[in-house]
């Protein structure tokens, strides 16, 4: 049976490094995915992932178990990623709640391009790159909510608790994040729909 996070944290607090190693192994991939989604740089994301775990370990005594361990770990990762983004010269962190002035995307564009089962779509490098480019264009608040929703599968309730925002804000932030992503993808891929068709495993098989 898998030992729960809190039990491992308690053991790690006692100096049990094997317990902490289990926590690292349990969350390294998720933390990396979040960091990479935020900073869009593999090496930097790995550094952040390592730094996040070291910082968590250093502050274990401050973790009282009031929130989930992963929520705490996520917040540390997010802050480290934001520090990196801020240290870059030309990138704005963009935490304002401005809705933006984007026109809504053409309805059906994405679903039509991706076919009936986009989850089974084998991502081609070009499409993955376009997605990453589009994500990098989003303000951090939009990037992070998409990451938490899609990487971690967080419910709206969990998102509200993790990001410390009301549930209504979760709803509108996700909506705007997706609208912007769709609009950006439409811009990147609109004239080359054949690229998306090529990206589909269904088309190839």
């Amino acid at each position: 049976m898998e030992i729960d996070d809190l039990a491992l944290v308690l053991r790690a607090k006692e100096g049990d490094q094997r317990a902490f190693k289990l926590l690292v192994e349990r969350y390294q991939r998720k933390v990396y995915a979040i960091a990479n989604g935020m900073v869009k740089d593999r090496e930097e994301a790995l550094d952040i992932t390592q730094e996040a775990f070291v910082k968590v370990h250093k502050n274990l005594d401050r973790f009282k178990g009031d929130s989930a361990f992963y929520t705490w770990l996520y917040r540390i990762t997010r802050n480290l990623a934001i520090d990196r983004i801020r240290s870059r010269r030309n990138e704005s962190v963009g935490f304002d709640e401005a809705v933006g002035s984007e026109e809504p995307p053409e309805p059906g564009f994405l679903s039509t391009q991706l076919g009936s089962n986009p989850q089974k779509t084998a991502l081609r490098r070009e499409l993955a790159d376009k997605l990453n480019e589009a994500l990098a264009q989003l303000p951090v608040k939009h990037r992070e909510i998409l990451l938490l929703r899609e990487v971690d599968g967080m419910s709206y309730e969990d998102l509200a608790a993790t990001l410390d925002i009301p549930k209504g804000t979760v709803m509108s932030r996700l909506f705007h994040a997706r609208s912007k992503m769709q609009k950006l993808l439409e811009g990147y891929l609109g004239e080359g729909g054949d690229r998306l068709a090529l990206a589909s495993g269904e088309e190839e098989g």
Partner: protein, 169 residues
């Protein structure tokens, strides 16, 4: 110019995430039946979710995490647990299952230590130790095991510290 976003847009997005309650869901489904464009928006949201999920998975799959946890562990400083944590860990059974017996045993050990130590250490220290406080009110500060010995650290109500060492049974 800011777009005017209606509640319906937000509901459609939340519907795509299966995050609506039954009443809202019924409202959206009724609307979807009469508006094909809205149905396409829901399909787009779901397609984007699936695409992002696949992309994040793929990005993480490209990283080999073999040895990553060991590298993190190697960066950690040696961690000494707090006194309270070590006490809980060492005495967990005694505190958790036999708190009364443990308290009596600890107080008895403190009393023995206070009475015996003057005879062991000689008359020069007698007075200080005997005036140190009520041994029955001694509390355990620390307990540790090293090799074939166990050490208990007590504090009396008078503020004196008692170190009690015994052979491991």
């Amino acid at each position: 110019m800011m777009d005017v976003r209606t509640d319906r847009d937000l509901l459609l997005s939340a519907y795509a995430d299966d995050e609506l309650d039954a009443a809202e869901q019924a409202e959206v489904e009724a609307f979807l039946a009469s508006d094909p464009e809205a149905a396409l928006r829901v399909a787009d949201d779901r397609a984007l979710s699936a695409l992002l999920r696949a992309s994040f998975e793929q990005n993480a799959d490209e990283v080999d995490f073999t040895g990553f946890a060991d590298a993190v562990i190697a960066k950690l400083p040696a961690r000494k647990a707090s006194l309270a944590s070590r006490l809980r860990a060492m005495l967990g059974d005694a505190f958790g299952q036999r708190p009364f017996q443990f308290a009596v045993g600890a107080a008895a050990a403190a009393a023995v230590a206070v009475v015996a130590t003057p005879y062991l250490r000689g008359p020069a220290e007698n007075q200080r130790i005997l005036l140190a406080g009520d041994p029955s009110a001694a509390r355990v500060l620390d307990m540790d095991a090293l090799g074939d010995h166990e050490t208990m650290l007590f504090k009396t109500s008078g503020g004196a510290t008692i170190i009690f060492v015994q052979e491991t049974p």
